[in-house]
């Protein structure tokens, strides 16, 4: 979804479908899909409530949701939308959102039904509520001609973080020990940098400082130029923190810390190169895949830093081997 949404912005396709929740006057597919899935989910829940067949429940739900989405895609999407680049970007992103919504609905139902851990239950509900808010923000963005698009972009990253944390905790039960302060600080810095990046993008300020690495300062001092400057300073700060986090992970000699830390370090190098490439290519439309990749790698850095921070809680509770 991050890639799909980033692609919409890179292609300036946010208003390629001018209405919401309809699509060119037709009922929006994801609304129909979600309603269909809700009906099937309720029926399936009742059927399996006594048998607790988790795999059948999830399987049936996903099959039903998939069938609903396929049906609406075939019958209700605008004609030839998949052939037209900007329609494919925007309408495809709405369809994907519909699929994600159905999946999250299944997830939150499953977690509330079968998971007793309070942290996980709350995270699942927060993720679903976050998704609903994101869908509403996306609709508002269309209705008020993109004026809310930066908030839609920011919430997407927060929602992504919630899902990464939820996925991690579903696989590894939560630990109670405090996380490493350095790793938490790195996660915080990465998030601030991502939010700054959203502001740069949505203020059309990619070329506000028209060169990389020089000039250091912009020629004017409007909002776009200031966001671009702070974003570049933020990149340096994040890089320093990531290197420090990697050094700490290496020192701990824990492979479960080293892997995400190493991945994060590699991603930061790639991210800086991608950011520079946007400037070097003049942010031209024909290179619109570069800003999309920049957004996607930013999200991957978020994922690595979150996993690192959560893993550090586990590492600090690990019992050292007896001498």
């Amino acid at each position: 979804m991050i890639c799909a949404g980033g692609n919409v912005k890179s292609k300036e396709a946010g208003l390629a479908v001018p209405d919401w929740p309809q699509t060119y006057g037709l009922p929006d597919p994801w609304v129909i899909a979600a309603l269909a899935a809700l009906v099937v989910a309720s029926g399936t829940w009742i059927f399996f409530a006594y048998k607790r067949r988790v795999s059948l429940f999830y399987g049936g739900l996903i099959l039903a949701a998939g069938a609903a989405i396929l049906f609406t895609y075939v019958t209700k999407s605008p004609p030839n939308w998949i052939l037209i680049e900007n329609l494919r970007a925007e309408h495809g992103h709405r369809l994907l959102a519909g699929g994600l919504g159905v999946f999250l609905l299944a997830l939150v139902i499953g977690v509330l039904k079968f998971e007793s851990n309070v942290v996980i239950r709350r995270l699942a509900v927060a993720a679903f509520v976050g998704f609903l808010l994101q869908a509403a923000l996306g609709g508002l963005t269309v209705i008020i001609f993109l004026k809310a698009s930066v908030y839609h972009a920011m919430l997407a990253q927060i929602e992504f973080g919630l899902l990464v944390a939820l996925t991690y905790l579903l696989v590894s039960p939560p630990a109670t020990a405090p996380a490493s302060r350095l790793f938490m600080a790195t996660t915080g810095a990465v998030y601030v940098q991502i939010l700054l990046g959203a502001l740069v993008r949505h203020y059309e300020a990619a070329m506000a400082i028209p060169g990389f690495p020089l000039p250091l300062l912009p020629e004017a001092w409007s909002a776009g130029e200031i966001f671009q400057l702070i974003h570049r300073i933020g990149a340096v700060a994040v890089a320093v923190l990531v290197v420090a986090a990697f050094a700490q992970a290496r020192k701990s000699d824990d492979r479960k810390l080293l892997k995400p830390a190493a991945a994060m370090l590699v991603m930061v190098v790639i991210q800086i190169l991608l950011g520079a490439s946007i400037v070097w290519t003049g942010a031209e439309r024909e290179y619109n895949y570069i800003p999309t990749a920049h957004v996607a790698v930013g999200s991957l850095i978020v994922a690595c830093s979150l996993v690192l921070a959560l893993q550090s809680k586990r590492a600090s509770t690990a019992v050292p081997a007896a001498a």
Binding site: G14, P18, D19, W81, I84, N86
Partner: protein, 248 residues
């Protein structure tokens, strides 16, 4: 004495002829009144700038229309006439005209044809209908981005679809674009009066039925900016106003 009485009556009649009209407004009463402004707009450049080729592969219908000859951008369109480069798509209009003018009922039409807007620059009056047509066998959307008037964005999924919009505020030079086909761009001018024109492919223009008086004439181009000049219009005569933009 008799002659004096006749002169007095004539003077009285002449003095009452202006009552009930806006004394500051040289309002045009009939089509045949006023003068006109004609002229040409040139570009000061060593050679004609090349029109940018537009990639239309984002839509196979558009791509198909330009498989032999590429679509060229309408941003800077020039033609050599009489040894000088003339500039098309320059909006020319009077800055201020005293009086009130009723908007025509006939619409100004903008058509989506060949995956571009025709015309590239459209000029209409406040509350005059703007008819928006889709002549292409593909989906377009029409996104008007005024700063003062109400913004709108709607789709026209098929050829033959039409919709009419109006603008109720004066506004100069705002974009109309298509979010499905990002290269498509037009510019719109909403004037409080009918005294405006857009230069044709020869770079010439004509503004008719202009009330006699002295005016500021504005020349606007999307890339080369704006310039003004004074022009004096006399009844029944054509005033000439030529402009030249510096090539960038």
């Amino acid at each position: 004495m008799r002659i004096l009485s006749i002169l007095a009556v004539m003077a009285f009649l002449i003095s009452t002829m202006g009552v009930g009209q806006d004394s500051a407004a040289p309002a045009v009463k009939t089509e045949k009144e006023g003068g006109s402004i004609t002229g040409k707009v040139a570009l000061a450049a060593d050679k004609a700038p090349k029109r940018k080729k537009v990639k239309t592969d984002a839509d196979p219908v558009c791509q198909d229309q330009y498989k032999d000859e590429p679509l060229l951008s309408d941003e800077v369109v020039t033609k050599e006439v009489g040894g000088e480069l003339r500039l098309q798509w320059v909006a020319v209009y009077l800055k201020e005209v005293k009086g009130s003018f009723e908007a025509p009922k006939d619409p100004v039409t903008i058509d989506q044809k060949g995956c571009r807007y025709e015309p590239h620059v459209v000029m209409l009056m406040v509350n005059q209908p703007l008819k928006i047509k889709n002549s292409d066998p593909t989906m377009h959307n029409i996104h008007a981005m005024p700063a003062i008037n109400k913004e709108f964005n709607f789709g026209q999924a098929k050829a033959g679809m039409e919709e009419t919009k109006t603008f109720d505020q004066v506004e100069e030079g705002f974009k109309i674009k298509c979010d499905v086909h990002p290269w498509m761009l037009a510019w719109a001018f909403v004037l409080p009066h009918p005294f405006g024109a857009v230069t044709n492919e020869d770079g010439t223009f004509e503004i008719k039925n202009v009330p006699a008086g002295e005016y500021d004439l504005v020349f606007w181009h999307e890339k080369f900016g704006k310039q003004e000049m004074k022009v004096k219009v006399e009844d029944g005569k054509a005033a000439t106003a030529d402009a030249k933009f510096e090539g960038k």
